[in-house]
């Protein structure tokens, strides 16, 4: 056994190290950023043209958020299914999933949004009215059609993220689960996926931020979300600088805030190995 003094010394040194790194990790940059943000916000509200632009363009926030959230939910759920398909041993499922991912990833997101809204959704509507003639999907407005298109596009990327997460879990985990008598599905649900999902929270969170930004593509459908409102404002005031600065401010506010939320969630769910 080592003498007690030498076992105490490292402990003190360690705690000093810990407090130092916490100091370094304190987000000074975010404090600075918050101050800048407050200054910008204040300025916007006090300069007439900016104030105007702010009020006009802010109407688009609601739709932007709705589109982003809906698209994300579609992307993640479909992505999970596709991801499982990509690791499946069933040759039909594997190839179908593979085809979807490869094709969708090869197309520009704008094309997919347009395709989703003007081809896929009407096709599904036709299909559904054949089976359920009473159901009316005509109420699905353009913003949701755009969101569906966006969700279908991002699903391909989430599929790859899920696949990577699942494959990163060591074989021994699946072997242990199967050896206890669990079926493949049970092993996936109780053992593999819970671990995989915690591992891929960073890229999943990043894609939420990405989708928020790509919601601007839905402006191509003349939906009155943020980007469209910015364009309209420029149209009616001829003030490009003010319009686009304001909309940039909105987007940045949302993405930076989301970034912080994602980091927070990541930290809370980390598993010690």
């Amino acid at each position: 056994m080592e003498p007690s003094s030498s076992t105490i010394e490292p402990a003190i040194g360690q705690s000093r190290l810990v407090s130092l790194s916490r100091l370094e990790k304190a987000p000074w940059w975010s404090l600075g950023l918050a101050l800048v943000w407050l200054w910008v916000f204040y300025s916007i509200l006090n300069v007439n043209v900016y104030h105007d632009a702010f009020v006009f363009i802010s109407e688009g926030i609601g739709l932007t958020v709705r589109i982003a959230v809906s698209a994300y939910l579609i992307a993640v759920s479909l992505g999970l299914v596709l991801g499982l398909g990509r690791v499946s041993k069933n040759i039909v499922i594997y190839n179908l999933a593979m085809m979807y991912v490869e094709v969708i990833r090869g197309l520009p997101m704008l094309i997919i949004v347009l395709y989703g809204a003007y081809v896929v959704v009407p096709a599904i509507e036709n299909l559904l009215t054949n089976f359920f003639p009473d159901l009316s999907l005509a109420g699905l407005d353009d913003s949701m059609r755009g969101a569906i298109g966006l969700g279908l596009g991002y699903a391909a990327f989430e599929a790859e993220i899920f696949r990577a997460g699942i494959q990163s879990i060591e074989r021994g985990q699946m072997e242990a689960a199967r050896s206890l008598g669990m079926s493949y599905a049970q092993a996936m649900r109780y053992i593999i996926l819970p671990q995989a999902i915690r591992r891929i929270l960073p890229p999943l969170g990043n894609d939420l931020i990405s989708i928020l930004k790509d919601s601007s593509l839905v402006s191509a459908l003349a939906v009155r979300e943020l980007t469209q409102m910015a364009k309209l404002n420029r149209g009616r005031t001829f003030l490009s600088l003010e319009s686009y600065n304001t909309v940039a401010f909105f987007y940045l506010t949302m993405t930076l805030f989301l970034s912080m939320v994602v980091k927070f969630v990541e930290r809370r769910l980390k598993i010690e190995r």
């Binding site: 242990a176 050896s179 206890l180 008598g181 669990m182 049970q186 109780y190 671990q195 190995r273």
Partner: protein, 247 residues
């Protein structure tokens, strides 16, 4: 299910991994209550043979029959077979996202369909048996290697299997933790559990094995009792191997 006859029957099995021949015509029969220790150099096929018993690997030809049920690709309910065969891995393979207690109860609940109360009772009993009841609510990462392996043993036992397989259970442990795991295994031997153990721990083999098997290059070379193997093995290759590892 057969009440008489061997509980594990391996007949003339062959298995390749690509070009590598892992098992070449291995045959083996294990009766209930026997404790079989399998020794041999690495690459001899010991682990492969073990993993064929609970269907983690499937043989290319030959038969593997566990408790009367053949273990093949086509086995209708392979999960039912696996429930009866517990296995302990070299790398423990505990579930890191669950507590120690949950590691023991998860399979009980979703496979054996036991109630939460019953599974927890069984789990706590087993944790006490392997000597670490106080660690029930800890995540596995907080336990030492020896403790983790004992949890792994308890986890396998929680399913009340008929057979326990051990794939080099102490090879990944620091020397001072090997004894606690071997002692736990000795407890099982005393209770009459049918065990097949792949291990390099000769002390354990001498003390606990009813039979020792020596494998080399995918073939079963010798199959005798510990007394005979350690004092006067029949085969040359066995003698050569033993002279290298007994020091």
């Amino acid at each position: 299910m057969s009440v008489t006859g061997p509980i594990i029957q391996i007949e003339n099995v062959h298995k390749r991994f690509g070009k590598v021949r892992a098992l070449c015509g291995v045959g083996l029969s294990v009766q209930r209550g026997e404790v079989l220790v399998v020794i041999g150099p690495s690459g001899s096929g010991k682990s492969t043979m073990l993993r064929c018993i609970n269907g983690l690997e499937f043989v290319d030809s030959g038969r593997v029959i566990v408790d009367g049920i053949p273990v093949t690709h086509a086995t209708a309910n392979i999960n039912a077979v696996r429930v009866e065969v517990g296995i302990v891995f070299q790398q423990f393979n505990l579930f890191p996202h669950l507590t120690v207690l949950q590691n023991l109860t998860v399979a009980q609940r979703i496979v054996r369909k036991r109630t939460p109360v019953e599974s927890e009772r069984v789990a706590r009993e087993l944790l006490a048996k392997v000597g670490i009841p106080e660690k029930a609510d800890a995540p596995p990462a907080q336990l030492s290697g020896g403790q983790q392996q004992r949890v792994a043993i308890a986890r396998a036992l929680a399913m009340n299997p008929k057979i326990m397989l051990f794939d080099e259970p102490t090879s990944a442990l620091d020397p001072e933790m090997i004894k606690e795991v071997l002692d736990t295994m000795l407890l099982l031997v005393k209770e009459g559990m049918t065990m097949v153990v792949v291990s390099h721990e000769m002390g354990f083999a001498r003390a606990a094995a009813t039979r020792i098997i020596f494998m080399d290059e995918g073939t079963l070379i010798e199959d005798t009792t510990p007394d005979i193997l350690f004092s006067n093995p029949r085969e040359e290759r066995t003698k050569a191997f033993l002279s290298k590892i007994l020091h």
